[in-house]
Symmetry: C2
């Protein structure tokens, strides 16, 4: 039996760096005109020029706070939920906090959570479990991702797929509303560990011993193996996730899938007979923004006014690892 | 009012790479004989030869499982709690799981939590909040840290202070015992952001644009500023932490502080009139093992038989960020 917890999304904010169209990327890297849209379905994405993860995350948080008419000292914790970072040390959450208005004078908690593309989903679950209306009244989950620096210019499949973005959500413990957190969960299928990897830059291939080399230090993906794993494992994950919830995938009003790739989204659509507009998409406008994809989709749909309070929402995605994860809540 | 949660440490395991004495390090780096012990109080530490974070973490987990007479499929989640990693992507927890006996065939959850030196403390708090006896019956928190690769050979203060280690704890939801989790918490004082930092290797100083340079890519620490901040902020942190708990620092049987430095430990000892043996120490034998220091201390004291079930225990530390954090529980 699942006990729904009174957790409510108060507000959200985003920061997007400069937009770059697929036509511009095709020109820059000498890729055949129209190939990107055909191959990945991406028309535009955003990429940093001067921005850092810290800068983008701080601006997204400030935007969310402004919408909520809240100040930083009303927040108890910032969870930075993402895979990319400004420095190997300290934690990205502490870097983001240091770049916030009032960040230097407000001594709240900062922690990092990383499940790569599922980091926001995991951060959302952890925030919902921590929030108690006492020690933790309000928690911010922020995903600030710079994918563009780690792309291999010789691999058009990934070079053209990814975008940069930051999105922040303020979550609160609130027993006065119909909003609830129902369930979160993730499963890791380790046979897929090497299907998405950046090999160089950690302790295994330490930079002192392995100088920069685009192949070693860029994101490498075996798209075909990934799609095969997703196809095999998603049905049993979905079955496991909804067991004991008294809710089925078909009861859900809004599904926000990770924008992994057009092919990945198509697999999911072909797997389940979903209603029109039940599953949201933004890959054509933003590409795959790692952990920022799901919250960006959720943020934009909320801004459009399409998500009503109490609506059943489901975040779902795959990530490097290989993992599948989800989070179920009433908005 | 704090409601204690029925969480129990089932077992723990550790992995240590090769031991290196301070005399050997003094010889290797042409440091005056006896300087290290005098300056940092460290006599020995362990440093990897062939090991990776994944390898050490997996061995520590296997040792804990063996002691608990449990198998991996009884575990619901592995939390990798640490600052160092084998690859920039995927998450360290998924790397550790992939190197476990049964890791490839057991599809449990893996997540990373990073608050640098406080990561185990944060992982312990998060595990305690997730554990519910239903979806999450047993969670492993593992800290596997390789500090030795990121040390600057020109800075004896840090070169001689750090060690490598991995420690894993199995936590369970158990209403049949006196063991409980009472409270966890962290505060980040962002004015100290630059006092402990590895600048190079992330998006800010991306390796493509900034080739390896020992000063840029090694751990840099301003020890004097750190000690000053600890001195100023620890008293108000301790006051905040114990407020509403009906427990004071003096009620606690065992305090496990992060082994940041001999000077840091001395500051704390001079701040509070602690009982003999109330505060544990292992810096002379292991050095500062980043997030693995606190669980290593806890593991060894449990192994010695000095910690009895029901004993009030307090984990306390400082970390890069600059943060102070703690976790209070009955063993």
């Amino acid at each position: 039996m699942i006990i729904e917890k009174p957790i409510r999304i108060v507000a959200s904010g985003k920061y997007l760096p400069q937009k770059i169209s697929s036509a511009e990327i095709e020109k820059k890297y000498d890729i055949e005109k129209g190939w990107i849209e055909k191959f990945s379905g991406v028309l535009n994405r955003h990429q940093v020029t001067f921005e850092t993860n810290g800068f983008m995350g701080a601006r997204a948080i400030e935007s969310a706070l402004e919408k909520a008419e809240m100040t930083l000292n009303q927040i108890d914790m910032i969870i930075a939920a993402g895979a990319t970072f400004d420095y190997p040390l300290p934690s990205q959450s502490s870097v983001i906090k240091s770049e916030l208005k009032d960040g230097l004078t407000t001594n709240i908690a900062t922690i990092d959570v990383d499940t790569t593309c599922l980091s926001f989903v995991t951060g959302f679950e952890i925030a919902s479990k921590l929030l108690d209306g006492q020690q933790y009244k309000n928690i911010i989950v922020v995903s600030s991702e710079i994918a563009s620096k780690g792309l291999n210019t010789k691999k058009p499949e990934t070079l053209t797929l990814f975008g940069d973005a930051a999105v922040a959500f303020i979550l609160t413990y609130d027993t006065q509303n119909t909003s609830t957190f129902i369930k979160g969960g993730i499963k890791t299928y380790s046979e897929g560990l090497n299907n998405t990897i950046i090999k160089g830059g950690g302790n295994k291939y330490f930079f002192r011993d392995y100088p920069y080399n685009e192949d070693l230090h860029s994101f490498a993906m075996d798209g075909i193996k990934l799609l095969k794993m997703a196809k095999t494992e998603i049905p049993s994950f979905i079955k496991w996730f909804f067991d004991n919830t008294n809710i089925s995938l078909f009861d859900i009003t809004h599904i926000f899938p990770h924008q992994a790739s057009k092919a990945g989204l198509t697999i999911f659509k072909n797997m389940y007979p979903l209603k029109p507009n039940q599953m949201k998409e933004n890959i054509s406008e933003y590409g795959n923004c790692i952990a920022a994809s799901i919250p960006l989709l959720l943020h934009d749909e909320i801004e459009k006014g399409d998500i009503k309070r109490g609506d059943l929402c489901f975040l779902l995605g795959t990530s490097a690892g290989f993992s599948i994860g989800g989070a179920l809540f009433r908005y």
